[in-house]
């Protein structure tokens, strides 16, 4: 399977009460929430130890099993004063930290002796991974797959921009793969870039970047929506820079991108220093705007877009008092004030 050893949710919540290197993580678990981090990556010495010694791939580590337990068998995991019991799923090879204990000075009891007695008396069911454990693992794996896909989209968009920059006609096109590295393309991206000042010496200069996305695989509309904002976020993560322009019934996305940003993108492709992480979200408009008052309440409730007096469309999401007023809205309002 390839996935490192990880704690069961029960073990995480009940047995790992102390010794955390990240208090925030511990607090989150205490309040009943699970962090978004893969459980095998959490900042606890025993968790780290288990992930390293049960990596899910071929290993040389010698292992000791808990004597007296055979069906199922449990491995021992020791680091510092921490003791753990590991169960390996016979079908998948996935290792689970099922129980853990810390040996305090003066403790008479031995973790493994206690664990063994408990299992012999009551069975191992309580300790084995549950459906929740399996589902959580799947969620983590799919999450990682989606992140990898978004990263790939960003890299592909960068490469396309770099090609536009190099080509005489300022155009280039690339194929965007489907999620999970499937062979089938989900869409093709054609980009046309118009640069008035490619050297970027004028600090105010912007390039126009027009995205034409041709969908090849319509089966996953949720993924298609992700595709759109991921490409925009990769090129310029600012809502203010993007316009949606219908052409032949299809929406083209036109970005007004500062030349300095184009330069950075082209350089990162040339230096093979392309993104290794997915882009962040497209940031909302960084100005407050004047909007006719009637649509606002509905927009706030339903997350709909409103149109400001300057023409900008956006979904109101943040407290306007925290942002500088849009200069265009201001000048329109100034004209109105008697």
């Amino acid at each position: 399977m390839g996935s490192p050893g990880r704690p069961t949710i029960r073990c995480l919540r009940s047995d790992l009460n102390e010794g955390w290197d990240d208090i925030q993580q511990r607090r989150q678990i205490e309040t009943g929430r699970l962090p978004r981090t893969p459980l095998s990556d959490l900042a606890h010495p025993l968790i780290r130890h288990v992930a390293t010694t049960f990596p899910g791939t071929d290993h040389d580590a010698r292992r000791e099993n808990i004597g007296g337990l055979n069906d199922p068998m449990f491995w021992k995991a020791k680091t510092g004063q921490w003791r753990g019991a590991i169960y390996e799923d016979p079908e998948t090879g996935q290792a689970w930290l099922c129980a853990a204990g810390f040996r305090h000075a003066g403790d008479a009891e031995d973790f493994y002796t206690n664990f063994m007695s408990d299992v012999l008396a009551h069975g191992a069911e309580e300790y084995l991974p549950t459906d929740d454990d399996q589902v959580r693992l799947q969620l983590e794996q799919h999450h990682a797959e989606l992140r990898a896909w978004k990263t790939q989209i960003a890299v592909t968009a960068f490469e396309c921009i770099a090609q536009c920059h190099d080509n005489d006609d300022g155009r280039a096109s690339v194929t965007i793969p489907g999620v999970g590295g499937s062979d089938a393309a989900i869409a093709e991206l054609e980009v046309e870039m118009i640069q008035d000042d490619p050297g970027g010496r004028d600090s105010d200069a912007s390039a126009l970047v027009e995205l034409d996305i041709t969908v090849r695989d319509w089966s996953d509309p949720t993924a298609l929506e992700t595709l759109i904002y991921t490409i925009c976020a990769a090129i310029s993560p600012s809502e203010d820079n993007w316009d949606a322009v219908p052409m032949a019934g299809i929406t083209h996305y036109i970005g007004t991108i500062p030349e300095a940003r184009i330069h950075d993108i082209v350089m990162s492709v040339r230096l093979d220093d392309v993104p290794v992480e997915p882009p962040g979200a497209v940031a909302p408009t960084t100005h407050s705007h004047y909007v006719p008052s009637r649509p606002i309440v509905q927009a706030l409730i339903f997350g709909e877009a409103v149109r400001a007096v300057c023409g900008k469309s956006f979904v109101p999401r943040r407290d306007p008092s925290e942002f500088p007023l849009c200069p265009e809205c201001k000048s329109i309002a100034d004209e109105v004030t008697d």
Partner: protein, 142 residues
Amino acid sequence: MNTLARKDVDSDQLSVLREAIGRLPKDSALATALNNLRESLDDGVDVLVSALDEELSPNQAAQYLNVSRPTVYKIIESNDLPARRVGTHYRIRMRDLLGYAKRHRAAQAELAETFAHADANERKLLRERAGVDEETAERLGY
């Protein structure tokens, strides 16, 4: 194209307008149109007054739509915005520009919503691919 700027209409004139609207029959189309005009002015926006068949240049269309001139040409060439050729020039009817502007606004609103809902969209995509319902995903930290 005539722009009626809000700043050119003082409050006295607005009162006269309100009064005139009040004197028209209730279901009058003229009253409705004037009322829309009044509301826009009340909201502080400038109003465009134009004959629907008035013709505009691509430059004027670009200004109205707030896009670049080359983009207007592309829109025309994609047949999304009707335009007639007069020699080397295009002329665009006001009614056609308004029709396109409405589609433009709809596309802009949709994009704004796509950006705003990205987080929810992504959680949904994860659940769909993992085959997990919303309640379970939330309980398990996603």
